[in-house]
């Protein structure tokens, strides 16, 4: 059971990465706007995140080195500092959006005032991270996030058009589209891939592997975990695209709220569907909030060489503990200003594309280095795929901001 339960690290990382509030609305809106036309980006992003998380997990198991320590060593202090600032901004923005998302879901469940629930959310997260052991955070939020499978069931119940799904797996621009519509299409392609390969997933996964004290003998388990966790995330993403195409597109709705996403399950399965969807979103958003807050603290502590880790007592890793606490405090303060959580995360997803090459290049270089990894270094196929993805990520990073400005954040 002990080793089997490790799979929840992969599930938590994937659910917190694939179906956090930004990805949820992005994917549904992409389906509502382009039908299944962007499905290939989900597959591409999933293969990419499986590749890089497997490498990061393997490095953590063999060398016990987290990602940010590699970034600092391989890219030099200045580039690592810039990456640290950019990734911390992205993490804090994403975490703020998730805190807001949790408050929105709680409001749908309770009807209580939103701002009061934001404060409640802040206290909830601080207590959870303070009191719960890392493996229990993985298990509770990973297992709870599985309630999101209600969207897979709803998509199947609505009857997806399988031939359209198959054709959506092949990259193809929409026919007879204006240059502006093409820009929107490519904006969503970049944003979906970025939201699947969000850098905090890799930071969290590798640091989590060290928290769980992985050894070289866990490399096989690492492979199973990334395959199971991220494939599950991909299935959820495909289901969301399908719901966007089959449920929301005919109704001319581009979902921007968690409650809108829950409508599809509520209409199909009544109260059971509604509550499964709302609870699933709560666990997924809360998992993402914990992932991003801990990632910020991991990155800063690893960059500055502080003792870090949930496995240490708070007083043994005082600055690490203070960092995640401050991150939650800042996030709650941002959300209390009344800013729209979904809009924040859309910005953070686009800007995170820029961090991707800086995050993944050092991982690839170290995982490929036989002097460091010995017999556990990448094989030829892994290196070829890794470099191919790095090229794709770099092109996406260069295109992200121009596309964002050109399309008014994908709004047309």
């Amino acid at each position: 059971m002990g080793r089997f339960a490790e799979v929840f690290l992969g599930i938590l990382t994937a659910v917190g990465g694939f179906v956090e509030i930004g990805e949820l609305t992005f994917t549904l809106t992409a389906g509502s706007t382009f039908g299944y036309g962007l499905l290939w980006t989900t597959v591409l992003g999933t293969v990419g995140i499986i590749l890089y998380c497997e490498m990061a997990g393997r490095i953590a198991a063999v060398k016990h080195r987290p990602v940010f320590s590699l970034i600092r060593e391989r890219t030099g202090l200045t580039a690592a500092f810039v990456t640290l600032i950019a990734s911390t901004v992205v993490n804090v923005l994403t975490c703020a959006a998730e805190v807001g998302g949790v408050a929105l879901v709680w409001q749908l469940l309770s009807g209580w005032p939103y701002r009061l629930l934001v404060i409640g959310g802040f206290l909830f997260f601080v207590l959870v991270i303070w009191w719960m052991k890392f493996e229990w955070i993985e298990r509770v939020f990973g297992l709870g996030g599985l309630l999101m499978l209600v969207y897979v069931v709803t998509a199947l119940y609505d009857g997806p058009t399988w031939s359209d799904i198959a054709s959506g797996l092949v990259p193809r621009q929409p026919e007879n589209a204006s240059p502006h519509q093409l820009a929107v299409y490519w904006y969503y392609a970049v944003a979906i891939m970025s939201s699947i390969m969000l850098p905090y997933e890799t930071y969290f996964y590798a640091s989590g592997a060290i928290e769980d004290h992985w050894k070289p003998g866990d490399i096989g388990l690492n492979r199973v975990i990334v395959m199971v966790g991220f494939s599950l995330g991909a299935v959820l993403s495909v289901a969301l695209v399908s719901l966007g195409a089959e449920f929301f597109q005919p109704r001319h709705v581009e979902p921007q709220l968690p409650g809108t996403a829950a409508l599809s399950a509520a209409i199909a399965f009544g109260s059971v569907g509604l509550y499964a969807a709302l609870l699933g979103m709560f666990f997924a958003f809360a998992g993402a909030a914990i992932e991003t807050a801990l990632s910020s603290a991991y990155n800063i502590a690893q960059f500055l060489g502080w003792p870090w880790g949930k496995y240490r007592r708070p007083r043994e890793a005082g600055r690490f503990t203070l960092t995640w606490f401050v991150v939650f405090l800042v996030c709650a303060a941002i959300i209390l200003t009344g800013v729209d959580p979904v809009r924040i995360v859309e910005y953070s997803i686009v800007f995170s594309v820029i961090v991707l090459p800086f995050t993944y290049l050092p991982v690839l270089v170290v995982a490929a280095d036989r002097r460091i990894m010995g017999a556990h270094a990448n094989g030829i196929a892994m290196n070829v795929l890794g470099w191919a993805f790095l090229v794709v990520i770099t092109v996406a990073a260069l295109a992200a901001i121009p596309l964002f400005l050109l399309t008014h954040g994908g709004q047309g």
């Binding site: 500092f81 810039v82 209409i267 729209d340």
Partner: protein, 143 residues
């Protein structure tokens, strides 16, 4: 940790980051102050059309939805419509599209009051009509 900064180098890095952040803030403020085209208005009209369409779906299915969820979700949706209306009002548009901006503001107010008010046939009809008018406005702005 092979490489370390002296306090002086760290200060230079911090100043560099602050300068870049300030430049980004100035660039954003400059872009926001420029007159915006029909694309900016169309983006907000599309958001409003989606909100009106969703409001119509929710009100039509209202009797089959959990009452607490219905009230809370309509409240959140109405809040989003208010945000969109404020963004439309804040757009600094070129004169050629200011008529469309007024039209969009009028429709936003109607959508807002229908979603935020009493759930009845009048609200449902208003939302359906507003959605159709917003679709037409979207098409006009596309040209």
């Amino acid at each position: 940790m092979a490489e370390r900064w002296t306090p002086r180098q760290a200060l230079h890095q911090a100043i560099g980051v602050l300068i870049v952040a300030a430049l980004i803030a100035v660039a954003i403020a400059y872009i926001k102050a420029q007159p915006q085209g029909r694309g900016s208005l169309k983006a907000e009209v599309s958001a409003l059309r989606s909100q009106a369409a969703e409001g119509a779906v929710v009100l039509e299915r209202g009797d089959k939805l959990d009452r607490r969820f219905l009230r809370a979700h309509l409240g959140q949706l109405a809040h989003n419509v208010t945000r969109t209306r404020k963004r439309i009002a804040d757009l600094h548009l070129e004169p050629a599209v200011q008529g469309s901006q007024r039209n969009a503001l009028d429709l936003a107010s109607r959508v807002e009051s229908s979603i935020g008010g009493v759930v009845d046939d009048h609200a449902r009809a208003t939302l359906r009509r507003s959605k159709s008018e917003l679709e037409r406005l979207e098409q006009d702005l596309e040209r």
